[in-house]
Symmetry: C2
């Protein structure tokens, strides 16, 4: 198979523009980096448009394998020099590979929740920390959520830190960015969803429901009063020791685990 | 009450040395920052030696309250100018206050686990990410752990990011830094502890035990083979959806929640 050619200076400049949030959203593309993340995106069937590798990485077995899979998936392969890598990368070590992928993201209408079967959807209200948003997407994928809604005040889905924190799970579960949560709650209620808000004073059990929406808020402010008032139930994790609160992605993991165990 | 005086240039220099890990450990002191964190340290009874505030913060009601509590706790109060604050701070916004506190940390012998009653101890093996170590300390405090052991390869307890991620919980639960985990396992076994390792192939239930040690490993490598072989049981969170793994602090939260619920 032919060796990949170098990325042209003109293309490098256009790829670099994806570091800018406005440009990412306008173009519908984003950058992902690192061996594990790029492999996971390919494996999950994400639209990987271009894979850029250092010559060193391309010469390694791991690099050859990744390039082979990327070629099969229809991606353009280009080499970059080691000094170009950090420019396109958000971390200290991008491990020799960066890729341009179609921005993940779905619309509420696209979520596979209309049928009579069970569904679990997660909504985040004002979760501004990118690491928490990414970790909750990762956790939601693990616990088999059918979709994740990012409401007002959430970190931007296309930001490198959010994407990286998902560890590739963003390509496994539909994420609706910029969701109007009060509107989504009304629509999901019409589809038979039970709405559960994480809020102080709630209980730590889940009534059985074949379709559930679980809403988590920011650590500082919690779920908004409007959304809490629309919920059918409140959930809260009991405190056995000390401290003011749990990290929101830990709380989401605990709630999802309890929810799944309760359905078992 | 008299107004606090300014921090001298000589003292500023010596406080600044605490940004260095070796110096922190040698001195047995560290820096914490932000209103919430400093308040939490005071509330938890940590030894707060000096509180440094900007003149602006000292003039606010919240600042006056915090200074009052700190004075009662025996802390020296000093003002710093706004340009000194970022030098002593690890974050963009230290919110007007930085404090010197005695390094938290305990020895295995000090943990309140000798009696006949129930005990829960957490051990981390090679968890190198400071945010995860801090978040697990926070989560352990919430779920009422009697102690947390940081084994080989863990992020340094005194690092600003670890301390900050605990959200003050580090002052509520004894943390043993630099623990020899195989030795700790042998000693806790002699004290009647059941040893549970988070490891693939494990089950998601807990046999009842009045004394339990739960070991969590790094996301990349898991709990070391030596420690897994010493364990009485393996715990693993079932996957309902997609993805390679859970974030380790999310996994610890889920396990602790399941453990507590199982005891209920």
């Amino acid at each position: 198979m032919s060796e990949p050619g170098p990325l042209s200076a003109v293309k490098f400049k256009s790829v670099r523009l994806l570091l800018n949030k406005k440009y990412r959203l306008k173009e519908g593309r984003c950058l992902i980096e690192g061996r594990r993340f790029v492999s996971e995106a390919l494996r999950a069937g994400a639209t990987v448009e271009m894979v850029m590798v250092t010559v060193d990485f391309a010469a390694q077995n791991e690099g050859k394998d990744l390039i082979g899979v990327a070629r099969l998936a229809g991606a353009e392969i280009r080499t970059i020099n080691p000094s170009q890598l950090p420019v396109l990368s958000d971390t200290v070590t991008a491990q020799g590979v960066v890729a341009v992928v179609r921005l993940p993201g779905a619309a509420l209408e696209d979520l596979p929740v209309r049928g009579p079967g069970p569904s679990l959807v997660i909504a985040l209200d004002g979760v501004s920390d990118p690491g928490n948003v990414g970790t909750i997407i990762r956790t939601g994928a693990w616990f088999g959520a059918d979709g994740i809604l990012l409401g007002a005040g959430c970190a931007e889905l296309s930001s490198p830190k959010v994407l990286r924190s998902t560890m590739g799970a963003v390509f496994h579960v539909p994420v609706v960015a910029g969701a109007d949560l009060p509107d989504a709650v009304r629509r999901l209620k019409r589809d038979g969803f039970r709405i559960i808000a994480a809020a102080a004073g709630g209980v730590d059990t889940f009534a059985g429901a074949t379709k559930s929406l679980m809403i988590f808020g920011s650590e500082a402010h919690g779920v908004s009063a409007e959304l809490v008032s629309m919920a059918d139930a409140r959930y809260w994790i009991p405190k056995y020791g000390a401290g003011e609160s749990l990290n929101v992605s830990v709380a989401a993991g605990v709630a999802l685990s309890r929810f799944r165990a309760g359905q078992g």
